[in-house]
């Protein structure tokens, strides 16, 4: 009698547990669908033909006649290939230049001793609080005055530095034990060689993380490129998408 009671309770608990698990999975799956659906829709719409899309009052969740015509149009009627090339040039150049700027700076803060270091670093940190919206107005004027509108330099220069990444890298550099530096010094290794041969290889994970984050940031940047370019030849992908959208609704090109 008692035994069966225990069994019942144990069974009930197991069932409740399983119900809870199922509930969790339902919840997670719902959000996953919410995240994936726009991507699916983007892909689906891109392979629907223009006329098929417009004739569907109730949008279909699949298409039986997929077409690649939209992709052909995107590259022929709109200079999408150029937008992509521009974005790739912009992203690679900005990221590479940023690395050249922030690695020595982080190294100086982490390893070298010089007068005013703490004061300077505090000033650097306080710059992190400055929102980019506050400085974009003057930068726009500066770039315009330098005649750099619609050039890659105008696009790249203001986004080359990042105080946050210098800070991140400096913290990482400081994790490297002092003994390594002293050993290198005893061997007569120069600071630059030490940086290139020891610090950068050790901190490779952080450097890769920073690179990826910067690439994402550049790839998605919209506001600054929009301010600084009005010539289609220098549009980035974001600007191109927005221009297609403003001039013709979504899938058709302006000329249609």
């Amino acid at each position: 009698m008692n035994n069966t009671d225990y069994q019942k309770i144990a069974l009930g608990a197991a069932r409740r547990e399983r119900a809870g698990k199922i509930g969790l999975y339902v919840f997670l799956t719902l959000w996953a669908l919410m995240v994936l659906f726009p991507f699916y829709w983007m892909l689906l719409t891109s392979v629907k033909s223009y006329s098929a899309y417009n004739s569907e009052y109730v949008p279909k969740f699949f298409t039986l006649a997929p077409t690649l015509q939209n992709y052909v149009d995107a590259f022929t009627l709109v200079p999408l290939a150029r937008y992509f090339t521009n974005t790739i040039i912009f992203t690679l150049a900005t990221t590479a230049m940023m690395m050249l700027v922030i690695v020595p700076a982080a190294f100086a803060f982490a390893r070298l001793e010089f007068r005013g270091k703490n004061l300077l670093f505090t000033l650097f940190l306080s710059l992190m609080m400055i929102p980019s919206e506050l400085v974009v107005i003057t930068n726009f004027q500066t770039i315009t005055n330098w005649g750099m509108r619609n050039t890659f330099w105008g696009l790249i220069l203001p986004s080359v530095t990042s105080v946050f990444y210098i800070y991140l890298l400096k913290e990482n550099f400081e994790q490297i034990p002092d003994e390594l530096y002293k050993a290198a010094k005893v061997d007569g290794t120069s600071d630059l060689k030490y940086l290139l041969r020891v610090m950068i290889p050790i901190c490779r994970p952080t450097l890769i993380t920073i690179t990826i984050l910067k690439i994402i940031e550049c790839w998605n940047s919209y506001v600054w490129p929009r301010l600084i370019t009005d010539n289609e030849n220098y549009f980035l992908v974001s600007n191109g998408i927005q221009a297609i959208r403003e001039n013709g609704f979504g899938w058709s090109s302006p000329s249609r």
Binding site: A108, R115, I137
Partner: protein
């Protein structure tokens, strides 16, 4: 020592040059601009100095609309997205199977171009002559009345706006909160289990206090980010945000600077300084509140 000092400065030189030109100088310059009255960007001349630009901006109905929109977006999206991200992270941390897959999927919006996805959201919510749009058909399916979310009433547009903003900011918050949850010492949970502590109590007495620094970090950065909302709005409603009545403070700054309504860097500067003042105030309040509540 002198040689070492000069060498250090040499390493710092590129960073200092770039920061000087594109951060420090503009920082002072924006305040100068904001008090120069009647500045003309073509001739670079101005009449005098004063606070007229601020008064103009503060009396501009577009600016007031932008402030209202921004505050609504901030007040709705920051608490909702943080709470929702916490719920998802808790769910994620209590399942084992497929956890990696879910994490990958949830992270996707972080690495995508928000303008492109915003376009898809617009298509899903928009009502055109050809179709009522996905979302409206769903509403009709459940017996509701269709409404144009993109060109329709204010609350509908605001709903899409907030929905999309939450969709965009979720990945980062989930990422931070899952790692915070994973780093809570398991001994606390084991001790609680020995004492047969109820689940809710474990949550409020162990989990929440342990991850509260991260939650406050997310709230503070969430406030700052939401106050700077702009490109998501452009993705949904197009570049003419004033006409759509969906402008934000940052959008107002850019509109004043550039485009059809542009050419007024002084007004733009005044608005940017006002935005900075608002964000600074809110951040200070946040820090004060969190300093009182977070035990580290």
């Amino acid at each position: 020592m002198i040689r070492r000092t000069s060498k250090a400065w040499l390493y710092l030189l590129p960073a200092l040059l770039f920061l000087g030109f594109f951060m420090v100088y503009p920082l002072f310059d924006v305040f100068v601009y904001s008090v120069e009255e009647g500045y003309n960007s073509a001739s670079q001349t101005y009449f005098g100095t004063g606070l007229y630009n601020y008064s103009y901006v503060l009396h501009d109905p577009y600016f007031l609309q932008a402030v209202k929109n921004t505050f609504i977006i901030v007040i709705i999206t920051v608490p909702l997205s943080t709470a929702f991200a916490l719920a998802i992270s808790l769910a994620l941390s209590s399942v084992k199977k497929l956890k990696e897959l879910y994490q990958t999927v949830f992270f996707l919006p972080y690495v995508t171009n928000t303008l492109a996805v915003g376009l898809v959201f617009m298509i899903l919510f928009k009502k055109t002559a050809y179709t009522d749009g996905m979302v409206n058909l769903l509403i009709q399916l459940f017996g509701g009345k269709s409404v144009d979310f993109i060109d329709g009433p204010y609350w509908a547009k605001m709903f899409v706006m907030c929905f999309y903003t939450i969709w965009v900011v979720m990945p980062f918050k989930i990422l931070i909160l899952t790692s915070a949850l994973a780093s809570v010492n398991q001994d606390y949970y084991n001790a609680a289990r020995v004492d047969a502590t109820p689940k809710w109590r474990i949550f409020t007495r162990i989990t929440l206090p342990m991850i509260s620094p991260m939650i406050f970090y997310l709230i503070i950065t969430g406030f700052i980010g939401a106050f700077k909302a702009y490109s998501d709005e452009v993705a949904l409603f197009g570049t003419d945000l004033n006409a759509a009545g969906m402008n934000t403070i940052v959008g107002y700054v850019y509109d004043m600077l550039y485009g059809n309504s542009g050419g007024y860097p002084s007004y733009a500067s005044a608005a940017a300084v006002l935005l900075f003042a608002i964000v600074l105030t809110i951040t200070c309040i946040n820090l004060l509140v969190s300093g009182r509540n977070v035990r580290t």
